[in-house]
Symmetry: C2
Subunit: 492 residues, 2 copies
């Protein structure tokens, strides 16, 4: 690593100083190279209380340009975190391509604490471990460099440092009750930390244990790890090649699109009006109960252009309290969205407990438009079915009701509606050249949609087909499904 022979004759202290200088300069250089290569780097710094996580990060960022890094302090769990799924506070903090995020404590601490707290829900840590494993794997598969460090100190060292902090009123507040608890139950914590490390130590995201008893040594070790890992990532990109994993999620049967009868699905105007009124009233009252019980709801709409998604959503939302729901129209991603894991922009839009998020187009864009237009590689969209199933599992594990609609029409119906839009001045803004271009690819889309429906029709988050040649029929059906699913969640 560029060391010259002369340094060997220097004192150990002088040698370390020289190496520190070398590693600092290297990190500066690598930051620029990572920015050029658009490599996103997520550095997770975990460790014992008082092990020096903060000061270690503080030293590393001194070498970096503030435009290219961010420090996320995630030790304190905030109100909002508690109203979102487990991974939310971590997923929403992932870096953009070419940037660094340093996390001061993260999902590891969170998991270990849950195990130590022996929460009433005994499955929780196991569920969250699964979330963590798929999160880390997904990050790496999607081009992230994930560097996980654990700062280790002995119980004696921790006692000494906590005493020193407590002796000064200006630093005493840094030692929390739970920090003292950790010192008190050091062996027990150690066991849990070790087991969590063992269970999350993967070849694509290995743990680096840093001996943090000497701050200078720890800094040198940290910088060496950062530099070595960044160099490796820069060298091997974009050749990363992980095999496609088998999807073990239980699936439900679903007919192919071409086998879905459409003409028989209709409703009279009269029936429509009376049912609509009744169902909307019922949904309104369910919304109140959901809110009170803190159940989050995610409703996903996908379907052909002009299938009637917008009108369908309108009939659903008309009876909801606007303070408790949001409609998210999903268009092309903005730069900060495009430059992150494709699920990031959906994580940032997840509802809080008791709230409803309605997505007009969704994360399934990955396996439809992004697949067909080549916005991602074949590997990317092939991996995405499992990634999406994992994402939806994390939502249902959280307690969310996940309802997925495919709004179905046939090719002729689409043509009629396109022509109608073209010929009606008030509707012309609804039809674009892109719609016509997409229509030309109908058959390719049909293949992709069938793949998608088959591969993501999980038992926990199944698809519902809305036959929408008669839009009124589709609206009534959507309302009925939403009501049934909410009742199930409310144990009615």
């Amino acid at each position: 690593m560029g060391k010259t022979k002369d340094t060997n004759t220097l004192s150990p202290e002088k040698q370390r100083k020289l190496r520190l200088r070398e590693e600092r300069i290297r990190l500066m250089e690598y930051q620029n190279r990572a920015a050029e290569a658009k490599l996103p780097v997520l550095v997770l710094v975990e460790g014992w209380a008082a092990s020096g996580k903060g000061s270690l990060i503080g030293k590393a960022i001194q070498q970096l340009d503030p435009r290219f890094y961010r420090v996320a302090s995630l030790e304190a769990v905030r109100e909002e975190d508690r109203r979102k799924p487990f991974l939310w506070r971590y997923f929403t903090e992932i870096p953009e391509n070419g940037k660094f995020v340093f996390m001061d404590s993260g999902w590891f601490t969170n998991l270990a604490q849950e195990i130590l707290d022996k929460k009433t829900d005994r499955d929780l840590p196991e569920k969250h471990l699964n979330s963590i494993l798929s999160f880390e794997r997904q990050l790496v598969d999607n081009g992230y460099l994930l560097i996980k460090c654990f700062l280790n100190i002995t119980r004696e060292e921790q006692t000494r440092r906590q005493k020193a902090l407590l002796s000064d009123p200006d630093t005493a507040w840094r030692v929390s009750v739970s920090d003292l608890e950790q010192n008190h139950r050091y062996r027990e914590y150690q066991e849990v930390f070790n087991s969590c490390i063992a269970r999350t130590d993967k070849s694509y995201a290995p743990w680096h244990i840093i001996d943090s008893s000497s701050k200078k040594d720890a800094e040198l070790a940290f910088l060496e790890i950062l530099n070595t890992e960044i160099q490796k990532a820069l060298d091997q990109r974009p050749g990363t090649d992980t095999p496609l994993l088998k999807d073990e999620f239980p699936k439900l049967e679903l007919p192919l699109l071409s086998d879905i009868p459409l003409d028989t699905c209709s409703v009279t105007n009269e029936d429509y009006r009376s049912q609509l009124k009744k169902l909307q009233k019922e949904l309104r009252s369910l919304h109140n109960r959901l809110y009170r019980k803190g159940i989050p709801v995610v409703i996903a709409y996908e379907g052909w252009d002009a299938a009637g998604k917008g009108g369908n959503i309108k009939r659903l939302s008309a009876c909801l309290d606007p303070r408790g729901y949001t409609v998210h129209p999903i268009a092309s991603p903005l730069p900060p969205e495009k430059n992150r894991h494709y699920l990031w922009r959906f994580y940032t839009r997840l509802p809080r407990t008791g709230h409803i998020a309605i997505f007009d187009r969704t994360w399934y864009g990955r396996v439809m438009v992004e697949r067909l237009e080549g916005f991602c590689s074949e590997k990317d969209w092939q991996r995405a079915y499992l990634e999406i199933n994992e994402f939806e599992r994390d939502l249902t594990d959280w307690g969310a009701v996940v309802i997925k609609f495919w709004v179905q029409i046939d090719k002729d119906t689409q043509l009629r509606r396109f022509q109608d839009r073209q010929n009606t001045p008030e509707k012309q803004w609804k039809i674009t050249d892109e719609d016509w271009r997409n229509r030309e690819k109908w058959d390719l889309y049909e293949v992709a949609v069938n793949d998608m429906l088959q591969k993501t029709n999980t038992a926990a988050a199944p698809w519902h087909i809305l036959e929408s040649v008669d839009k009124q029929y589709a609206r009534i059906k959507a309302l009925k499904i939403v009501i049934a699913e909410l009742k199930k969640a409310l144990h009615d």
Copy 2:
């Protein structure tokens, strides 16, 4: 309004139904026109508990395309809100150009509640009233349409509605203790509401009192107000012409840039090293105390290109705990920033209590680059001095320490540093064509900077000049100033 004569012969009920339909269609049309005209619309819906704010907003948004509106429910004050300045939760929610935001309760409720709570800090409501008045005026001056509605019901009606809500377990949770308190002390609340309305009722942002005893009538009134106001705003834009207000903030004297001696400001290498170490140590310990006392700090850096801002910031941040500070490099605004009030992107970056935000370039871009490059109108930047002084007053009223640095060098020093950057391979990325173009405008910039320094050198948030021909001198001076200001805030 397109009413035909025949409607007069209809029953009042039928007439209202017809008018409602008309207004709904009109709102749909106006939404499209507002989007085209890039008019941002902020609708503040205030009123008594149980006056129907939510359902009124719910009805209005049924006419709108979800891409063009957002509902902000601000009734519950969250943890994060309490750690930010008063206006933060409202300012960060303002719409983008061409979009609508409906606020369900806002700054009005907040102010009224503070008055009713008779907080120990008696000046607080008065301070916040000033913040509100300048916020509303600034919004309108910067092209926003602000529509303020207050939903009025009698005490008897409120009692009746609260009883109805309480009688059903699924709606009972909607009635909070403070809602019942409001009903109990109705007269007292009424007095405070009336006085707050009177004090914030301005020609550019008038109050609309809506009688909300009948939901149908209230909806019609609300839609009429929205449509009338949007039409007015569309008709008069962009001819809005408000006179420049006099800036009454007390100012301190400051020399012109050309009168600042630079050559005499230097420090020896030896002195630099020993002082740097001592001052950094002192700052580190102050940071701990600040954090503990929850004092927020905003440090703003402005200065000539190549004046040494980056290196100066580095010496400051080197001794700070990375969990307690953030450096915000300010480049050209991204689209969501460009499409909002120019201070929005600084509001979103404000520190929480106990934290330090360091801005590398700031909101003063409005009166420097935006003025000189014509990115805003002359009216815009002339108004900005007062707007910025108000912004900084809101920060200091909140309890923040605001430190503003102008990093000063002369034209020859800049040339030398530019040439050095050009000739040193590792530094070439730091110098761009734009830097050379800006240099050509040195004299124009000097006029703008002098204007800026004179007009915003307020007693509460004065400028500090850092003479930076000797960068080491400037770093020591910056550290000394920060330390002195923090000590003042800590009452040392």
